[in-house]
Structure formats: structure tokens, C-alpha cells
């Protein structure tokens, strides 16, 4: 009898809570967070979420006087998985805005989706395909990270002039972000005088690279690695076992903490490898060091990387931009998010990895870092600062008309030539 009473009581309570909750929820700010929490980029996705959480902690889970509620959606680096996650968040959970996605082709797909949903604002997580904001940009899609080509700024000249690599072969995952990376590298490297002899493309999620490794040419000065996540780790492991000893050049996610913190000794082969990206782990800038410390304090040492990866930094920046604007406008999204978007477009973000502003396509203009992989005092591999390249815009300082003529990054675009005028 008592049991039954308790049961019905509990049921009644649940019913009441269900009635009351939507009332509370109306005041809450609902954010949909999309990251690759499955598949070969899982490690990257997890660190993206960590970066977001650091921002959340700093803002005490409040923005514009409203409590923040986060709903997470998982994707696996494929465009359709990202759209599925976003669709669920937008159409079912009715979030106010989205932060994400993480990976290049996901970004293009989500941008296309955003066009059909003008009431929701989309802030990119860390995806870096050029096409996302350069071709047919969407009014409600904002990107506070630079694209893959911008992340290469400074590297081509550095490896040609300082390292003396006159010929390079590239190997990369066969999708938009790596196309963009090779595009950025090639433009600068070829204009400096370098030659790209061959470009190898492997499907995203390749695990056995042994045959590709055998195919890599011996007669080039260095090999450019445009791989990330599990693919990068597998490549390095098999490269070592095959007795490989060529000079390497790292793409942005190749020399990132996501690879440099992997278990095993394969990553050691990267020591001394030059690369470039939106951050240098050892930068002594005050703001950067503060961010690194906030990240380290937020999670126990075995649940994070020694320093935040660029994915964490990007998600952090995206979240901080959104929360700052929301604070400025008092959390008012009632006007179809018009004020929110105006604020986002105008904000000058004083990010830990340098100042960030948006251009007319709502694409970031920011600072880039040329780095080299070294071992720090604790035995961790980090990328340490070589050179800072300020104010990198999406056309890489070139005339937009000339830049457009080169074409959208693809397997064989751009052609390697000394001048593109």
C-alpha cells in the first residue's frame, strides 16, 4: 500500500516537474555544442569540449544574465553526421545557437544547413575548410578561427629559406580541410621558389599506411604530412617501423597536442619538425599563459593534454565571443538574434592566441604561428615558437580577384608555380 502510494506520489511529482520545467527553460540560454566525439577525430572532439568548458567556467555558466544550458551533439567528421547532430539540436532541442562543428567538410555541410534556418546562429567550432566562408557564405554562420590555408601562413617561406627544402612531396587525408592546408602551404612555398613534386591523398580514417609509405619518393628534401588524429599516429608508427628517415613538415593538426600527446614512441619521430598553426604551445605571451593555466586547472592531468590543443583554443574562442556579445546585449535574442549577430560581426576578440576580427564573410582575421616540435622540461612534446605572422586574412594578403582565380582548394589546386598573377 505504502509502496503504491509512493509510486503514484513520485509519478505525480514527475508530472508536476515536467509541467513547470518549460517555464524555467524559457529563461535559460540553450546552446548546442557539436564536436567529433566518435571516429578517428574523437581525441580532437574531446579537447574541443574541454576548451568550451573552460570558457563556460570563466563565465560561471551565465551569459547576458541568463543561465546557460548546454546540449552536446556528437559527429564523426563526416558531413552527414554533423548535419544530423545539428538538425537534432536545432529542430528537436530548439537551441538558441550552435557552437561547432570541428572538422572541415562538416563545416561546409553545416554552413549549407544554416542557410535554411535563419533563426538560429551558427558559430564554427574549429572546422577550417576555405569553402565554408569563402564560397557563398551564409549570413548566420560565423567563424572565429582561421581556415586551413591561413594556418599555414609563414611555413612555406620558413622551410624554403631557413630549412633549405627545395622539393617537397605531400601526403594528406582526402578532404576539404587538408586540401585547404596544402593550398595555403603550396601558395607560399611555390612562390618562394620551392617545388611540390607529388601529392598523395588517402581516405580519412586510413589505418594501414604501409603501402603509401613505400610509395613516398626518396628523392625529395622533405615530406609534408597533412594528417590528423588516429591517422597521423598510425602513419608515424608504420613509418618508423618501415625504417623511414626523411625530413618532415607538419600540417597544423599533425603537430598539434592531439598527436603529440598520443601514447607510444612513434610521435618522437616528429621532434624537430617545422609546422604552423593558430597557436604556439610555448608562447610566453601573458594572455596565452593565462589560458593554458586555466585549461590545466580545469581538468586533472590525466584527463587533458599538457597544453590545450588548437581545437580547445578554437572552441574556447568561439564560446568567449558568443558569451561576451551576449553580456553586451543583456542576453536579448528576441529580435530574431539580430543584435547578437551584429555584435558578433563587430567584436574584436582579444583571444589568447592573438587578436581576432571578422571580415565581411564573417571569417576570422588573426595571428598565425610558425613552430617547431621540441621536448619541454617534463618530457612532453610541444610546438615551440619560431615566428609570429600577424593579421592573416583569408586571401593570405593577396588581391581578392587574383586569389579567386586560383580556384577552390582541391587535390591538384593550386598548381605549384612561382607567381599567381
Amino acid at each position: 500500500m505504502i509502496k503504491r502510494l509512493l509510486c503514484s506520489g513520485a509519478a505525480g511529482l514527475l508530472f508536476l516537474v515536467a509541467l513547470v520545467l518549460p517555464g524555467f527553460a524559457a529563461d535559460k540560454l540553450k546552446i548546442g555544442l557539436v564536436a567529433t566525439l566518435e571516429g578517428t577525430y574523437t581525441v580532437l572532439g574531446e579537447d574541443g569540449v574541454r576548451g568550451f568548458e573552460v570558457a563556460l567556467k570563466q563565465f560561471k555558466s551565465m551569459a547576458g544574465g541568463r543561465e546557460i544550458e548546454v546540449i552536446t551533439g556528437a559527429s564523426d567528421a563526416s558531413p552527414d553526421s554533423a548535419v544530423r547532430a545539428v538538425r537534432k539540436l536545432v529542430e528537436q532541442d530548439k537551441v538558441d545557437f550552435i557552437i561547432g562543428p570541428l572538422s572541415g567538410s562538416e563545416g561546409i555541410a553545416v554552413k549549407n544547413y544554416s542557410r535554411d534556418h535563419p533563426n538560429v546562429t551558427f558559430i564554427n567550432g574549429s572546422s577550417g575548410a576555405q569553402e565554408t566562408t569563402f564560397v557563398d557564405p551564409s549570413d548566420n554562420f560565423f567563424r572565429f578561427n582561421m581556415d586551413g590555408a591561413q594556418w599555414m601562413a609563414g611555413l612555406g617561406k620558413y622551410v624554403y629559406d631557413k630549412k633549405g627544402y627545395k622539393t617537397v612531396a605531400t601526403i594528406g587525408e582526402d578532404y576539404s580541410f587538408i586540401y585547404t592546408q596544402v593550398f595555403g602551404f603550396a601558395l607560399e612555398y611555390c612562390q618562394a621558389g620551392g617545388q611540390i613534386t607529388e601529392r598523395f591523398w588517402v581516405p580519412l580514417g586510413t589505418k594501414d599506411f604501409a603501402s603509401i609509405i613505400a610509395k613516398l619518393p626518396d628523392d625529395v628534401d622533405a615530406i609534408y604530412l597533412g594528417l590528423g588524429g588516429g591517422d597521423a599516429v598510425n602513419f608515424l608508427n608504420q613509418y618508423l617501423q618501415a625504417g623511414g628517415d626523411a625530413k618532415l613538415i607538419g600540417g597544423t593538426i599533425m603537430i598539434d597536442q592531439t598527436v603529440l600527446s598520443s601514447k607510444g614512441k612513434a610521435k618522437e619521430v616528429l621532434t624537430g619538425t617545422p609546422g604552423a598553426g593558430p597557436q604556439a604551445d610555448t608562447w610566453d605571451n601573458e594572455k596565452w599563459q593565462a589560458f593554458v593555466k586555466a585549461y590545466q586547472d580545469a581538468f586533472p592531468a590525466d584527463k587533458r593534454f599538457p597544453v590545450p590543443s588548437l581545437v580547445a583554443t578554437s572552441y574556447y574562442n568561439a564560446a568567449v565571443a558568443a558569451f561576451t556579445v551576449l553580456n553586451d546585449i543583456g542576453g536579448d535574442l528576441s529580435d530574431g538574434q539580430k543584435k547578437f549577430r551584429e555584435g558578433l560581426a563587430k567584436i574584436e576578440l582579444d583571444a589568447p592566441n592573438g587578436k581576432i576580427t571578422l571580415d565581411n564573410n564573417r571569417q576570422a582575421i588573426g595571428t598565425n604561428f610558425v613552430t617547431e616540435v621540441t621536448k619541454d622540461e617534463n618530457g612532453n612534446l610541444v610546438n615551440s615558437l619560431i615566428e609570429i605572422v600577424p593579421d592573416v586574412n583569408q586571401t593570405l594578403g593577396m588581391d581578392p580577384a587574383v586569389f579567386k582565380k586560383i580556384g577552390i582548394p582541391a587535390r591538384e589546386v593550386p598548381v605549384c608555380q612561382a607567381s599567381y598573377n
Partner: protein, 337 residues
């Protein structure tokens, strides 16, 4: 052999010619025209050996899968999770004890025990209900995947190759001749050769155990007719438990192998489940030689695909599967019915 030649004279000739041609490709110095057409000999040889060694890994995973299916008609969709779980355990043991060999033993035993538990606690309760069993295994695989993510996180793990296996060795195969007349010998990672040898040994041992021992006889009889076997007084449940334990243990061993020359991470479980599904569909459900043939085919197609037609490499394995399903739905070496 004799009978095969008598029954299929044309096929025998084709196979013979192909074998001789392959041998020539491996041993001879490639003429310039062939190099221009198909690339350097080194690339071809590497793809060939890599395909075979990768096939060895696939065989380790798929043979347990096919054995369990053959006997119990249970499509164990948690097989990939056993692979990953075994790999993680192998990693933990290998780093703690510094012994690569020990990690195999522990991974095998741990997964065998888990397999036994699954059989006794879960599958025995729903014997004969194939659909239900299959759905339950999906559920188990999802739960296991999350538990593994919880314990080991999303990082990439590599089991370190012991020093005596590290690096490449020279094979007595000439890949090219330098202009000075010196021969360039093929270099190949030692660890992959050892793994290949191990999987051949395991495969042959399994074949012998199935065909020459009493327990093997029971298993084969069980594959053909379960009810009749139990009617003869054999404790079929015990056979089931043993087979499940062995199949699961093999998946664990494969996990250590995979962790050594590839890496362990979330998602690998479904990848290897998919690979073993394709392998047994191509080779024939329930057949050990079929699993070997299927694994070899899939391994080779992946490697040759990645070298000679990288854009379509992913499609190639599935193309093989489609062709097999279209023309020989029971699998290449599967029995009808």
C-alpha cells in the same frame, strides 16, 4: 588437387598462369615499360606483402567470428568490442610488465573469460532466438564501447614493439638495380612478418584441431546438426562455451596485434567488426579456410587499392562483397544451406 584439375581444367590453367606471373613479378627485374605503367617494383612488392600481413590480422579477428557463427548461428556483433577490449588490456599489461608476449597471453585469457561469461550469462538464456541474440550483441557492443571510453579515454594507444622486433629487415628480393650494378634489396618491417607467421601458425593449428581432434569433430558435427549432436549424448553446452571462449580470445589477441602495428582508439571496434563481417561474407559464413581466403582478399584489395587507385580504395572492398553476394551468395568457400 588432382580432382580439382580434372574437374576444372580451364580454371586450373588460369590459376597456374596467374601464379607463375605473380612469381615473375616478385622475382624478376621489372622491364622499363612495366615500371612506366605500374610504378616502381618496390611499391608493388610492399603492397603485396602489406596486403598479406593485413590479411593475417583480419584473419585473426574473423576466424573467431566465423567459428562462433558456424556453431551457434549467433552473429556476435560485439566481436569488435572484444577486439578493442583485448587490445587495451594488452596495452596496459605491456606497459606495466614491459613484456610484449605476456600481453598476448593476458589479452587472450581475459577475453576468453569474458566470452565465457557472455555465453553462459546471456546467450544461453536465449538459445535459438537468433534475432534476439543479434540485437543483444549490438546492445552489448554499445555498452562495452562506452565502458572502454570511460576507462581508457579517447586517446590513441600503441603497444610498443619490443626492441628485437623493431625496424626493418632486408628480404632476399631485389627491388631495383642501381646504375652501378648494385642490387637494392627489399626492406620490410620485421614485426609484420612475425605477425603474419603467427597468424599462419594459428590458422593451421585451428584447421588441424578442427579436422584431426575429437573436440574438432564435435564442433564440426555441431556446425552440421546441433540437435543431432546433443542427442548423441555430447554436452553441447560445454562445446559452445569453449568455442565462444576461444573465438573471443582470438579477438583479444588480434587486438594486441592491431595495437602493435596500427593503433587502438574508440571506433576501432566497429571498424574491425565491419572488416570481419565483410571477410566472412566474402569467405563464407562458418568456414575457417573461407575466413582465411576472405581476409587475404580484403587485405590485398585494401592495400593495392590505396596504392593504385587511392580515390576508390574504400569502395573496393565493398565491391568485392557485392560481387560475391551477387554470384556466390553463400561465400567463396561457404556451403549452401
Amino acid at each position: 588437387m588432382q580432382r580439382f584439375i580434372e574437374r576444372h581444367p580451364v580454371w586450373s590453367l588460369v590459376i597456374l598462369i596467374a601464379a607463375v606471373f605473380l612469381l615473375w613479378l616478385i622475382l624478376a627485374e621489372w622491364p622499363r615499360g612495366l615500371v612506366a605503367f605500374a610504378g616502381r617494383k618496390k611499391v608493388f612488392l610492399n603492397a603485396l606483402l602489406n596486403g598479406i600481413t593485413l590479411g593475417g590480422l583480419y584473419f585473426l579477428v574473423a576466424s573467431g567470428f566465423t567459428l562462433i557463427f558456424g556453431l551457434m548461428r549467433n552473429v556476435n556483433l560485439a566481436h569488435g568490442s572484444l577486439y578493442l577490449f583485448g587490445g587495451y588490456i594488452g596495452y596496459t599489461v605491456a606497459t606495466a610488465s614491459n613484456s610484449w608476449i605476456l600481453s598476448f597471453i593476458v589479452a587472450f585469457i581475459a577475453m576468453a573469460v569474458l566470452g565465457m561469461l557472455l555465453q553462459v550469462l546471456v546467450f544461453r538464456r536465449m538459445e535459438g532466438e537468433e534475432l534476439r541474440q543479434t540485437l543483444v550483441t549490438i546492445g552489448i557492443s554499445i555498452v562495452l564501447a562506452d565502458i572502454l571510453l570511460w576507462i581508457w579515454g579517447g586517446d590513441f594507444y600503441q603497444i610498443e614493439t619490443p626492441d628485437w622486433l623493431f625496424g626493418a629487415i632486408k628480404l632476399p628480393i631485389i627491388t631495383a638495380v642501381k646504375s652501378s650494378g648494385d642490387a637494392v634489396y627489399m626492406k620490410y618491417p620485421l614485426v609484420r612478418l612475425v605477425i603474419l607467421a603467427a597468424s599462419i601458425v594459428i590458422g593451421v593449428a585451428m584447421w588441424l584441431a578442427l579436422n584431426k581432434t575429437k573436440i574438432g569433430m564435435m564442433i564440426r558435427a555441431g556446425v552440421d546438426d546441433r540437435d543431432m549432436l546433443s542427442a548423441t549424448g555430447i554436452r553441447i553446452q560445454l562445446v559452445f562455451v569453449l568455442v565462444f571462449a576461444f573465438g573471443a580470445g582470438l579477438a583479444g589477441v588480434a587486438g594486441v596485434v592491431g595495437g602493435t602495428f596500427q593503433s587502438l582508439a574508440p571506433g576501432e571496434d566497429t571498424r574491425f567488426l565491419l572488416a570481419s563481417l565483410v571477410v566472412v561474407i566474402v569467405g563464407g559464413m562458418g568456414s575457417i579456410p573461407g575466413a582465411a581466403l576472405g581476409a587475404l582478399l580484403i587485405g590485398l584489395s585494401e592495400q593495392f587499392g590505396s596504392v593504385y587507385m587511392p580515390t576508390y580504395a574504400v569502395v573496393l572492398t565493398f565491391l568485392i562483397m557485392v560481387l560475391v553476394l551477387a554470384f556466390r551468395p553463400q561465400g567463396l568457400l561457404g556451403s549452401r544451406g
